[in-house]
Symmetry: C2
Subunit: 358 residues, 2 copies
């Protein structure tokens, strides 16, 4: 019997994926040249869908990379020469910072403990900062930054480019893309696709900054922003991309649009509420994130009280519920429950019942 | 009716791909964590298969990246500080050189015209060269470098690391990996898989050179050789990889091993012979590559005489034979016929009959 994957990526596949994959095989999509009109049409279709889903301002471009990790690197190479500022509260926001350090940027950081979010008054971005890196949803700790806070930072800091990691928040997070300059995600989380594709959304302001750095430093070679943009103008990519994932993304985004992003958001919130309500009343679990407005609706992290998390995970697995372990040092003390659009309401009901029986 | 893709990548899928994909979906492989034991076992399985297929010396490591293009970049970042030497005879060998220039390396080049191969006596690699870049099979022009020539260069030049692009030659090319230091390919050519995965094979000597550069320059961040090796030791990857392609690669390599790489090589040669024999006797086509020992068995490029290539391609397409167009400036004058393992002997028979009817 099939299990339900509540893992925070790779995750449960979106219910329509298998059907789309079969159609693509039938149509021999994966043998078509990535320089063909058929591929350009596919890219254009994914582009149109993502624009509608995210309500992107017209000046945004959409690029494909090998992973969201690669976008950490490429965004720093293409968009910064020197000064970055990072909001760090977990393993993934920390990795964006690591990339900046590896690239010898003068990387400033506001760090808060694992499991906590940021108070806006603590954020002090120095003058001259080129890029402000925000992780909208920390997959490691289950802390989110409310989109209003991101928008408020734009008002306070009009100068730096604002880069938002929406890896495990998209498409739920109702970000106003006119209030930021770039965002990125990978497809194996909220989009419920097989892993292997990063998606990078950038505005005109980012492209201008990238253009100003071209020729002055190494901006990322074939995957520099300028090179990606150059190809994007014909709906092409600098190297042979993951056509299979682009195909699935184009189709799943259309499925999501047909359902309605508002419906997806409402369902996400209802499922999240049910999970957090259970954790609050449970004697075996407690929500790890204390501050309600920082509790992620898409990645719910629970402390496991008095029993090893591995035991819980193992029992659930036997019942067909695959939940994630805690991240890093929290492996033995926490479980992580992804609440992505691929997870149905009744599957959350079933999981909560199973958790209650433990 | 299904067409047969004789395109040089993306290409005809290996006949077993659809079945493997269905099995993986049934087993929910693409929802499994890339940090799970299941993924480690999968990586290990792909590793074991590739070792057997290429008869790799024990000191080789195998890494996964987003594309072969990325390996051009990462190999230069991780393995060179200054001096590279490139054998350039087409668009893809030229792109390796471009990456070296973008990275400000002192890149020396021996360039011969499109459609020609190299005479060993013309190769003069300067002392102090860190990396000698060879493209074993030029996908753009259909010129190959016989593996004996590559082995001979090792004898003449023991010092530089020898990097071999086997993107459209693998697994046909019977390279002796003890005579080189690294090689790489992407899976959408000779392996007949959906695009989106680069495979990088490196020996201990490469790893030592990479270690000597760590801390002295930017070596590629999360995809530096050192970072890839660090994860490889546990059969892990620095970022979430294209698990789907790794799964298909592991399984298709096992299918190839079951068939026997010698059988695949014999079949490739027989099919190539048939194609070149036809081109020789045809009044409509001629082999583009003149020198017999440089005629690629895996990518056969033909000049189209007196008729536009686009017309030929269009007629063949209607009959269910998809052949590639000429590369770049040769788009209107040539066709390219990929002769990868996924293409059956009878499909080449059928194509040749169709070409005769033109």
């Amino acid at each position: 019997m099939a299990s339900v994957y509540f893992t925070p990526g790779p995750a449960q596949l979106y219910p329509t994926v298998a059907g789309h994959l079969q159609n693509a095989l039938d149509q021999q999509v994966f043998s078509q040249s990535h320089r063909s009109q058929a591929f350009k049409d596919l890219y254009k279709r994914a582009d149109a869908g993502l624009r509608a889903l995210f309500q992107l301002p017209a000046d945004y471009s959409i690029y494909f990379t090998g992973s969201a990790t690669e976008i950490w690197e490429r965004s720093l190479q293409s968009l910064t020469a020197q000064n970055t500022y990072h909001l760090v509260n977990g393993s993934f926001s920390k990795k964006y910072l690591d990339h900046a350090k590896w690239l010898d940027r003068n990387a400033q950081v506001l760090q808060v403990p694992f499991g906590q979010g940021f108070s806006l008054e603590d954020v002090q971005v120095p003058d001259g900062t080129e890029l402000l890196a925000i992780t909208q949803n920390e997959t490691s700790s289950g802390v989110c930054m409310p989109v209003e806070d991101i928008h408020a930072l734009r008002q306070r800091y009009p100068e730096p480019l604002i880069s938002v990691d929406i890896v495990s928040g998209a498409p739920y997070a109702a970000l106003d893309f006119s209030q930021i300059d770039m965002a990125f995600f990978s497809v194996q989380k909220g989009f419920g696709l097989p892993a292997g594709l990063g998606v990078w959304l950038v505005n005109e302001r980012s492209r201008q900054k990238a253009a100003s750095l071209e020729g002055k430093q190494y901006t990322g070679g074939h995957h520099s922003l300028a090179s990606l943009q150059d190809q994007y103008q014909q709906f092409q990519t600098p190297s042979t991309p993951n056509v299979l994932d682009i195909y699935l993304l184009a189709h799943v985004v259309e499925d999501m649009l047909a359902k309605g992003v508002d419906v997806i958001r409402q369902e996400t919130e209802a499922k999240a509420q049910q999970l957090y309500a259970f954790l609050e009343e449970s004697s075996l679990f407690a929500p790890f994130v204390q501050e309600k407005r920082h509790q992620s609706p898409t990645v719910v992290v629970a402390d496991v009280l008095d029993r090893p998390a591995a035991e819980i995970i193992s029992i659930l697995k036997k019942q067909g519920f695959v939940v994630g372990s805690g991240y890093g040092a929290f492996k033995d003390k926490q479980i992580r429950i992804a609440n992505f659009p691929a997870i149905l309401g009744r599957q959350v009901d079933d999981l909560v019942q199973a958790l209650k029986r433990l």
